[in-house]
């Protein structure tokens, strides 16, 4: 079966085909703009302005035009609980017949990372089929983000596996994380640096359970999703 290199999620943000997973993966960690679309359409009454104010206080919002080297991580949604990320995944899947979105497992994240390390940078702006479908706001965000990165060596750098956020992964089969959730990835040092290592799972023992729970809500925890055909 042929797959386009890029597809868009429900909020019209790009996802890239990952051969080793036979699935699409978000091009960059999920942004605040994406999640705002979800908040606006969803029926989860607890994900409201109050929740948004609390979460955005941890890592304030930046308008796409003002994204730069010193603040680009503010474009991403962080301070989010895994269960909230899963609600976003469910919402994305509701509009796509036969497709399901999910948080990657620790193993899937590693596989995707390794594959992207072996692939050259992809000029997103030149991919007219996908780029032309993005809104002006998303184009601005992606362009500013690209300009903020210093000479990415491969696709993994461009997709901000390194220098982005600590991404939620499920760790059901992993011994060193008793919460069932862990983090992969490494944030920019100017954003938050808490001893996270790109190639090693960052075990998270305490995770927020939902919108009302602030325990474990960290400013650097974000996520990206996988999309695959429903089994």
């Amino acid at each position: 079966m042929n797959h386009n290199t890029l597809e868009l999620d429900r909020a019209n943000f790009p996802m890239i085909w990952v051969e080793s997973l036979q699935a699409y993966l978000h091009w960059i960690p999920v942004t605040k703009i994406q999640f705002e679309y979800f908040l606006w359409e969803s029926s989860f009454s607890r994900l409201d302005q109050e929740w948004l104010d609390r979460v955005y206080k941890l890592n304030p919002r930046v308008t796409p035009k003002k994204i730069g080297k010193g603040n680009y991580w503010r474009a991403f949604l962080t301070g989010v609980a895994p269960v909230e990320a899963e609600q976003y995944a469910t919402w994305c899947g509701e509009a796509a017949d036969g497709l399901q979105y999910s948080l990657p497992t620790a193993e899937e994240w590693q596989k995707a990372y390794r594959e992207m390390q072996g692939r050259p940078c992809h000029p997103l702006e030149q991919d007219q089929a996908a780029w032309g479908r993005l809104s002006d706001r998303v184009q601005t965000l992606l362009t500013q983000l690209r300009l903020s990165l210093s000479a990415p060596k491969h696709l993994a750098d461009q997709m901000l596996f390194d220098g982005g956020v600590l991404e939620w992964v499920s760790t059901a089969a992993h011994a060193d994380a008793d919460s069932g959730w862990g983090g992969y990835g490494q944030t920019n040092r100017s954003f938050e640096f808490t001893g996270m290592y790109l190639n090693r799972l960052f075990p998270v023992k305490s995770v927020p359970k939902g919108p009302d729970d602030n325990a474990g809500r960290a400013p650097y925890n974000g996520f990206r999703l996988l999309r695959r055909e429903r089994a």
Binding site: I33, L47, D48, E50, R61, E94, D97
Partner: protein, 486 residues
């Protein structure tokens, strides 16, 4: 993903959820084409509803239109143009039309069925912005009785533009042999045709004001010397099959000026046909925008065959200007969008539920009283996906709940793509809107006015166009912003 009108069942117009595969309980149970709702968000539905008496050429016009679109997608310059058939019923009907055209046969009259029709569902892209065409081919008898049209064509509710297809040739011909004068009169009087439409809209609880109509002069080839301008226009159709090799790339923009000029000429011609003149007067009285065009689906007379309903033409169909009604439908939609005014209200938050107010009265109510025209005005609640009112309705009196999330992007972003040339927004809030700054340097900078009663500088400084309301006189500037000539 668009905050535009709810996607509805193409058969019974029941609202559909994003994941719907069949029309839900309370609807008709119609099995939707695969991915119908998601597809309609990318290619919004365009209902094609043609009203007219039997024998005036509705079915031939619809068939000629679809066949022309099909042919255009095959032309050398149309590499990216596509026509997609979404279900088997559409495929069968389209094949039937192709067979008749290929065999130089006219189509039989459409059979009358006193029930909701299932439209042909076609998705067109690459010729104009992607659309899902819902083509309703209903028998002329559906409009003979003023009380049936709502059952026979409930899609009239969703069709912002309707086509009145009439053939002056048939309006003016003497009664057929055996036809009683009263039956003959009933099948020609356009006053009754308008009455059927108006009654149907009333029963469907849909307003007429602000809608559009295209008066289609069908069988234009029969106009002869009565309207030489119109004949010349038909003959010079750049999209006709004979011009396929030399024809230029089709675009809505290139058609627009010619279409507007011709509308004036067709209006001038139909002004001399008493019944049509009356119909146009009735439409305009209801504040329906009227455009005119002339078409010829076959380019020549159909010759009756040996069996009833069987007729042939002596050469292939010579379709002339058969896309004009659809182009008018798209242009009128664009005009409506340009005139559309969105009033976005902040229902309040932690400080209490309620609109910004002046002297104890909410700003929305005060604004509504002062607006000279309401037809394009539509109200939305900040942070909510669905519209709070239909166009032309007053804003809700009091908000029921606080603002869920102070976000505007999910509304503005799709509007930017859908209507790049028009539409204005008045945002009424006393709070900061989280993502308003994202749109500060784009086309919305001049098309969005923030209205507030708050003295807080950060509220006023979040947007370049702000009107601080201290007295009711200050509302004058807001109404000027909303006036059509602004």
């Amino acid at each position: 993903m668009k905050p535009v009108d709810q996607i509805t069942c193409p058969v019974c117009q029941t609202p559909l959820s994003d994941a719907a595969r069949v029309c839900p309980d309370g609807g008709c149970g119609y099995r939707l084409p695969e991915g119908y709702v998601a597809g309609c968000r990318e290619a919004p539905p365009l209902p094609i509803a043609a009203i007219g008496y039997s024998g005036h050429g509705k079915t031939h016009l619809l068939a000629a239109m679809v066949l022309t679109i099909r042919e255009l997608t095959l032309r050398p310059w149309a590499e990216e143009a596509t026509l997609e058939v979404l279900d088997d019923q559409t495929r069968a009907k389209l094949q039937d039309w192709i067979d008749h055209a290929d065999n130089n046969q006219a189509l039989p009259p459409t059979e009358f069925r006193p029930e909701r029709p299932t439209p042909m569902i076609l998705r067109v892209a690459g010729l104009f912005p992607p659309r899902t065409l819902l083509v309703y081919d209903v028998a002329g008898q559906s409009f003979h009785d003023m009380t049936k049209a709502d059952q026979c064509l409930p899609a009239l509710r969703d069709a912002q533009t309707v086509w009145f297809v009439l053939s002056p040739h048939d309006l003016e011909r003497p009664p057929d042999e055996g036809e009683t004068p009263s039956a003959d009169r009933r099948s020609r009087d356009l006053m009754f045709l308008f009455g059927a439409y108006k009654t149907a809209m009333s029963k469907l609880e849909a307003k007429l004001e602000g809608r559009s109509a295209v008066v289609v002069v069908a069988k234009g080839d029969k106009l002869g010397d009565k309207a030489p301008d119109l004949r010349d226009y038909l003959d010079s159709d750049p999209l006709r099959a004979e011009a396929a090799e030399s024809s230029e790339r089709f675009s809505l923009k290139s058609c627009e000026e010619g279409l507007r000029q011709m509308s004036l000429k067709v209006e001038d011609y139909v002004g001399r046909v008493r019944d049509v003149r009356n119909l146009v007067g009735l439409l305009r009285k209801e504040r329906i925008e009227v455009a005119f065009c002339v078409t010829s689906a076959l380019g020549k007379d159909a010759v009756p065959g040996l069996q009833a309903g069987d007729a042939s033409v002596d050469a292939p169909w010579a379709r002339q200007r058969v896309l004009d009604p659809m182009i008018w439908t798209l242009l009128q939609e664009k005009q409506r969008s340009a005139a559309q005014v969105h009033l976005i209200l902040d229902p309040g938050g932690e400080g209490g539920v309620g609109y910004p107010a002046l002297g104890g009265r909410g700003l929305p109510e005060l604004l509504w009283e002062r607006l000279p025209r309401h037809q394009g005005l539509r109200t939305w609640m900040l942070g909510e996906a669905g519209a709070a009112t239909a166009p032309g309705q007053p804003p809700p009196g009091q908000p029921l709940a606080k603002c869920r999330c102070r976000l505007l992007g999910p509304l503005l972003e799709p509007w930017s793509q859908a209507e790049p040339l028009g539409g204005r927004v008045v945002l009424v809030t006393n709070q900061l809107v989280l993502d308003l700054e994202d749109f500060r340097s784009g086309p919305w900078a001049k098309r969005l006015l923030l209205v507030t009663t708050s003295d807080r500088p950060e509220v006023r400084e979040q947007w370049p166009q702000v009107k601080l309301i201290r007295t009711v006189e200050d509302l004058g500037e807001v109404t000027r912003f909303l006036s059509p000539g602004h």
